[in-house]
Symmetry: D2
Subunit: 136 residues, 4 copies
Amino acid sequence: MFTYKTKVRMHDTDAAGIIFFANQFRLTHDAYEEFLEMLGSSIQKILRKTNYFQPIVHAEADYKAPMFVGDKIDISVTVGSIGKTSFSLLYTLNRGKTLVGTAKTVHVTVSQKTGKKIPLPTSLRRALEKFKSSSR
Amino acid sequence: MFTYKTKVRMHDTDAAGIIFFANQFRLTHDAYEEFLEMLGSSIQKILRKTNYFQPIVHAEADYKAPMFVGDKIDISVTVGSIGKTSFSLLYTLNRGKTLVGTAKTVHVTVSQKTGKKIPLPTSLRRALEKFKSSSR
Amino acid sequence: MFTYKTKVRMHDTDAAGIIFFANQFRLTHDAYEEFLEMLGSSIQKILRKTNYFQPIVHAEADYKAPMFVGDKIDISVTVGSIGKTSFSLLYTLNRGKTLVGTAKTVHVTVSQKTGKKIPLPTSLRRALEKFKSSSR
Amino acid sequence: MFTYKTKVRMHDTDAAGIIFFANQFRLTHDAYEEFLEMLGSSIQKILRKTNYFQPIVHAEADYKAPMFVGDKIDISVTVGSIGKTSFSLLYTLNRGKTLVGTAKTVHVTVSQKTGKKIPLPTSLRRALEKFKSSSR
């Protein structure tokens, strides 16, 4: 399991005093970016040195407890499913031992040239398989 | 049906050249804010003049087509389900006749004092019922 | 003078209950994007159909009064100075008759190929001159 | 001197492929939040446990080099000037040995009750004096 440590920032919050819901997605994408680097890839590499993009085609989140500015959050990332052209990531957000939220993103591989779906690169598939969630 | 017109801004996009996925949620929340005002309420009124908050406890989105800076987007809002303490909103995003995305948010009513769930205010329930989706 | 009408959104605010300072810059950039379209250009056109970028090399803002979610804001845009390769824009933000903030951005023209400064395109220079501020 | 280490995230960038100018301010505010914590205060403490706010009344930034997604950035924070009710912070952003930007924010102390300016708390003044810039 991969865990990314972050902190809720003032700009993540809104006038209700807690994190703005869309910004929890921003935090989970930060975790995804670190996860990719840990796998030996990166957003920058994908954009510049490959022939594919991996846009998010579905995202969902549950909000279990309010998060406040300054809160330290651990985001664990596991791999949900792996398909021919796509994969899903599952995120669990904890503040200490308190579960504050969960999220899921589905990424599909498309050709930078044509915009059409193409198979998930083999090396990425192998890397993702090592982080497959057993429980969800 | 309520429709909110908006435009994709530079700050909504990312280095892949299209809207950053979390920012589609930001746009749908803008639509929700206008929807609330149309119903005679507003975020500002809820924060300052009521005894409740309505935090989002679940959010999900599908991304159907890339959105670019300058794109004019129509976001239609309908009411999905209405429960004792909560309701859901359904969003459809179109650029002209092209469906570019959908989203759903679930809002629960909690007491500003205790943070506990409380019944949906009757006036809001009645207002929401008029916008109930027939199809989803 | 060009005026852009906008509204402070929940995601613009933070836990202090007012607009997060960096988001005033976001609003002024929205005004700049509309200003560009009014001049017959656009961010999208510049990115896709010209050989230049116009990155911001300096930005500044003053905050005169707090802005709250739901506030309707008028942003007027005028042209400050026009140089060989650069120009500056001046923004005034009003809520009704109350001045809530001002801002300035300096944009420089660079070649998309080399990243080096190149002269401001003549057509843009002419367009900008019509909006030159007399007072600042 | 205080230094905060951060990384440019996908959501910080825009369709021009580099950081969106307003998001450099967001990064410097993150550095300010960490600086406050190092001084023994925090945004959360100020909001909840003091009688004052410290809104930003002026902000400015220079952009020296483009920043890309994944870039590791060191932000150093020093104190510019300290007045009766206000203080300024100076930020220098480096990617390795490359200066990529600078920024300045001016914060004024206001009463949470009245919104009027009040003197800078003595303890904060003393803490800030230790980080006073000698060079600017």
